[in-house]
């Protein structure tokens, strides 16, 4: 039992959980799973034990691997094997990484290293990365809905709810698939998820770099993608870890599935009055307003374990003389303690650097954060109970000192959390984070005002961010790649 559990604040929700199904309410104790009260109850949803997080190695199936990449140069194929420590190791494009599976987080990336072709060595970037929490508060304060403030990782377990991926649709035809086994507390397997993850080289038709000046030189982009999809009841979360040949790690989420809907007497928008807490998305059907905050835990080891967090603020400067009256410059600030490590995204470049490693011309090697949409932060009041538990969702970025026990942003025992064992609480300890083993936390946030297109199954809404090498390499790491040739284009005919 977590010894921090306080019986005092908001007692009702700390130790009790309430679930409903269309007006049938059930109240039960999370501590001892006692059934306490029901109103019009016909059934109740059991509280899932989310504290299984043993990891077991996976098997890899290759049946859909193509003889050659179809869109580009014949590059190095993905190779995968079970390494001696029981993890699956992958090698593809210019990355090496280990891939494992966790009942709570789903896919876990570890020991991701990128090849520095100028130096001929693999250099570490990401020691361990995974989804840490997924907070989904709904915006209807009524009795049926107020408690719908789900922590999908901590309360339901993204790994346990990982769906088998479909060849040809969930992943492209050149993907390889990996199964996952989830072990129970006694070590025996409790679930096998076939095709739990897929790995493929992605040829999206994008350009990695180009320039025309008398001659034209272009290199197409190829990346290594690790994909999994968790289906938490109604919603589907497709999570991509994309390792680019340029050295970037791009983390993308695609949200699909079915909206949580609420019945209404009305079948036309004009009939609605007051705050319906949702949009009319079909006859008699309201899609309730909600947010989705996916928090990633990224234990970065940029060229080694000891890193610093540098905020480069772009500061406007009034020009002293000359026709120009203003410009901006860069003011770097290295975060010394955790209170300097939590920030909101603005006109500041955020970097994780290794102050002990320099490039040949003296720049600190680093990776910067680049947002690709989904930058919402929570709008709930700080004293609102779900917000206290997810208080870390008020800022997109946190940097904390490494602590083995701090893996789950909403706390280890999320069901019973009160907000005193979460990411924001750990940060308040204000440990030193300069030139230490630090952990970066990034939250992809999306406010969702449903619309008719989201019904009956919603087209994917995407968001994500990129960890981009910034003075990590001495120069563009792709500059020496050879151009494509027409001769590498395969000759295709249809099977059927």
């Amino acid at each position: 039992m977590p010894n921090h559990l306080s019986p005092e604040p908001c007692r009702h929700m700390c130790t009790l959980d309430e679930r409903s199904c269309h007006g049938h309410h059930v109240l039960f104790s999370v501590n001892n799973l006692n059934f306490l009260n029901a109103r019009n109850a016909s059934f109740f949803a059991a509280n899932i034990n989310t504290h299984i997080h043993l990891v077991k190695s996976s098997t890899i199936r290759r049946k859909y691997l193509l003889p050659a990449s179809v869109h580009g140069e014949i590059g190095p194929q993905i190779s995968a094997w079970i390494s001696s420590n029981g993890f699956s190791a992958l090698k593809g494009t210019n990355w090496e990484l280990h891939l494992s599976f966790d009942a709570r987080a789903g896919a876990v990336i570890s020991l991701a290293s990128v090849k520095d072709s100028d130096k001929g060595v693999f250099r570490p970037v990401l020691y361990r990365g995974h989804v840490s929490e997924l907070f989904v508060p709904y915006m209807d304060p009524s009795a049926d809905w107020y408690f719908k403030t789900f922590f999908d990782a901590g309360e339901f377990a993204l790994g346990l709810l990982t769906a088998p991926l479909e060849p040809f649709t969930d992943c492209p035809a050149n993907a390889v698939f990996m199964d996952a086994d989830v072990a129970g507390v006694d070590g025996s397997p409790v679930r096998n998820i076939p095709n739990a993850m897929c790995v493929f080289e992605r040829y999206a038709g994008d350009v990695a770099w180009r320039h025309t000046e008398v001659i034209t030189e272009v290199r197409p982009e190829v990346s290594l993608v690790v994909r999994s999809a968790a289906v938490v009841g109604n919603y589907d979360y497709v999570i991509d870890w994309e390792f680019k040949t340029t050295g970037s790690i791009k983390i993308g989420v695609a949200l699909s599935g079915i909206l949580e809907v609420k019945a209404t007497y009305y079948s036309h928008a004009d009939e609605l009055s007051g705050d319906a807490h949702g949009s009319l998305i079909a006859g008699n059907t309201l899609g309730v307003y909600h947010d989705r905050f996916l928090t990633f835990r990224l234990d970065l080891d940029v060229d080694g374990p000891n890193n610093s967090f540098v905020k480069s603020r772009l500061r406007p400067v009034r020009a002293a003389a000359g026709p120009r009256r203003s410009y901006w410059t860069v003011e770097k600030e290295t975060a010394r303690r955790e209170t300097d490590g939590s920030v909101e995204l603005d006109a500041t470049e955020l970097m994780v650097v290794n102050p002990n490693r320099r490039t040949r011309i003296g720049n600190e090697v680093g990776y910067k954060i680049v947002s690709h949409g989904g930058t919402a932060t929570s709008l709930l009041d700080d004293d609102d109970y779900p917000q206290r538990r997810a208080s870390y969702t008020k800022r997109q970025v946190w940097v904390t000192a490494y602590d083995e026990a701090e893996k789950w942003a909403a706390g280890l025992y999320t069901d019973q959390s009160t907000g005193d064992d979460n990411l924001a609480a750990w940060s308040r300890r204000n440990r030193e984070i300069e030139n230490k083993d630090i952990v970066l936390w990034y939250t992809v946030g999306i406010h969702h005002v449903p619309c008719q297109e989201d019904f009956p199954v919603m087209p994917a809404v995407t968001g994500g961010f990129e960890l981009r090498p910034t003075n990590f390499f001495d120069r563009n790491p792709l500059i020496r790649t050879r151009p494509n040739k027409q001769a590498t284009w395969p000759n295709c005919s249809l099977i059927n």
Copy 2:
């Protein structure tokens, strides 16, 4: 001559242009191209006449078209023809659009309509869309650099500087290519650009929608992409118009090419002192800080010409009673005049709706704006001369009343602009924009602090936004698409 040209403010830069090459300065009159003054001058860059913007139809070459889509179901192939009005018309996936080419803007999309499969008709979305301006101010106030505040469309012409696209690298192997002819003022062709644009169906391996619940249903994403690349001296701008089967138009920019660099005596970062106005990216080489603001003009006709601009602010609400203390709701405000039409991106959903068209259940049909990164706004002072000319870059979104003369965000005669004929100036006229033919302007902005990876050619930096149908369709428009089958996977062997 534009009659608004004022001789008073900042006379030096209004009518004169100064160009330099490594310390050699040339001062010349933009009005009559007189050579006025030179310091250590060895040559000067001529001022390009950017006011050719006649459009001529293009030809389409299909040599690389595949017999079938390689990653998915065999969908409708792209068909293209020269339509009766001289434009090239395209039909692919579920979109129909016209494609033309303009010497100043580059690729121009017009009459883009999406098929509503429930109604069996094509419905208009975008009447005309193109890059309007590309403002690139550098952040070095010294004599060699202060005037480097380029307007790449208005001063140099993106169409004239469009580079031929390379098959297999600039565009994937299934692309079709189109040439562009640029006509002079007398109608005679002055330049032919082979492969100026390419069109392809994109199979990036993404999921369009999915859900697992007992059974699994997934549909992979296919989109129609129109691509072109303008090379403005050192920088390459790859611009994608992506038409998704879900009804979204996603506009993406990928910035590559070569940095504008400045020589320095120093070859190590530790030797730099004070504000160098750039980063040391190689020995004796500074990459000067700069911004890039790509402004798109989008003359939307959402289901018809008369549209309104609706801002849906997500407003936090204190809960009156019950365990929940807060939630957010949506407050819609329809912009009545142009002053309500210029906004910064925040927790507000921005939509263009057609108030004269409703869905079956009564929602106004619309398209909303979704950012996918690149949301920077200018940090320059309002009274700085380049900022006065590009004053519209302080906000990402503007909505103006349609005016045939208002196509170029920095004014028709950009070289001689003073800021009194630009997008911000037009907006100050404060015309009515409710239920009118309106134009949406969106600026993709990127602050660029160069790093060593950007040298010698930079890996693409991406940004963009999406116009996403929001209550435009009665339901998910892809819900009726058939799933992929393994049998549609082609049998490939290598040509060589």
